[in-house]
Point group: C2
Chain length 192, copies 2
DNA sequence: GGTTCGATCCTAGCATCGCTAGACAATCGA
DNA sequence: TCGATTGTCTAGCGATGCTAGGATCGAACC
């Protein structure tokens, strides 16, 4: 059995290598540069090996997205823990969210802009995605305000952050005043 | 000269046909289906003809985006005119925006999700895009609140709408409660 | 220890993509 | 009427995601 176990370990390691390499390549040169040929060359295997781990390129993007969701959830929770009041917690959360999107644009794209073949807002939504939303909900729920459903409030706040993140990164919003936009958003949306 | 004018007219008509066909095809089967071959076949010309009008597929997407921006500006202004108070105006604007995105998903993608090679938030931003932002500003500026820059407020409100539009359409947000999210957003953001 | 057999991987290739070169035909000016 | 110009098409290039089928390697059995 030991031989088989070793093979499984090696196989899992190679799968992690694929995901990590795809992510690295995407951050360096954009997702367009992540071709199956280049990716295969980087991991020093032939193309078909990729397809023994993933159904196709979509699933590789999906794997990067899940990894990113876990990291984002951690980043958001860390920011929330570092703050003391509900208000500063929300501001910190917003900054952490936008900061993550800015520092990991390719991962953010994998999560929300590209098709990673992942289910959302459904029963079969992968755990990391549900947990990332839960991380937002934990801090945002307490500032939803009276009579407002915490989940609904979180959705709206999240959408606003997502809009700021994508429009800023696409050059639709001047980056200079990003901080003022965050302050305005928190000022108005959060009921403290 | 008349002959040359006729040719120019016909050429302009063909260009409109290309844009209209690309848009139609994108709305029916998604932008992935808008290949240069299929598009050429639909307009009953060969592929290279497309490149005598546009630099490439990107520019065709850009042309659809500009068309969409003009329509969206008109839709937003119409909604604003139909309302009487600042508050109902903002609500109507928000509904019109999201309605446009929902009814014209491919056009909305061309405007904000895909690369149409268009400049934003810069001097060389095409007029229709600046005008679409201006249409939002006209109604949103009056509810920015004291001491808040109308442009900045418009940017934040727009980002929130954009986030709602994209996340809803991507299946990230359940469509059922879309209306309640709009109400919450307007309630909190608009100072009336 | 040699042999068999299954798992693993690679070479080669398919269909399709955006885009372009060069041949061909239609039209215009002289 | 004839050359030149303009316009269009056929054919093809390089690159893409993905796959079929053969080669190779290692584990397991007599």
């Amino acid at each position: 059995m030991s031989v088989q176990e070793r093979k499984e370990r090696e196989r899992a390691a190679r799968e992690r290598l694929i995901v990590a390499t795809a992510r690295e390549l995407a951050e360096q040169q954009g997702w367009d540069a992540v071709t199956t040929r280049l990716l295969a060359e980087r991991i020093e295997y032939s193309q078909p090996v990729l397809y023994s781990h993933f159904r196709g390129k979509r699933e590789i993007i999906g794997a990067v997205a899940l990894q990113g969701a876990a990291e984002m959830a951690a980043a958001v929770r860390a920011a929330a823990l570092a703050a003391d009041g509900p208000r500063t917690r929300v501001t910190g959360l917003a900054r952490a969210y936008l900061d993550f999107a800015e520092r990991n644009p390719a991962v953010y794209d994998a999560m929300f802009q590209l098709d990673g073949g992942l289910a959302f807002a459904a029963e079969d939504t992968p755990e990391p995605l549900k947990d990332a939303f839960a991380a937002l909900l934990e801090s945002l729920g307490e500032v939803a305000g009276d009579g407002v459903h915490p989940g609904l409030f979180t959705e709206v706040f999240w959408a606003a952050l997502h809009g700021l993140a994508t429009l800023t990164r696409a050059g639709r919003l001047p980056p200079a005043e990003a901080e003022r936009r965050v302050e305005l958003l928190v000022d108005r949306l959060a009921m403290t």
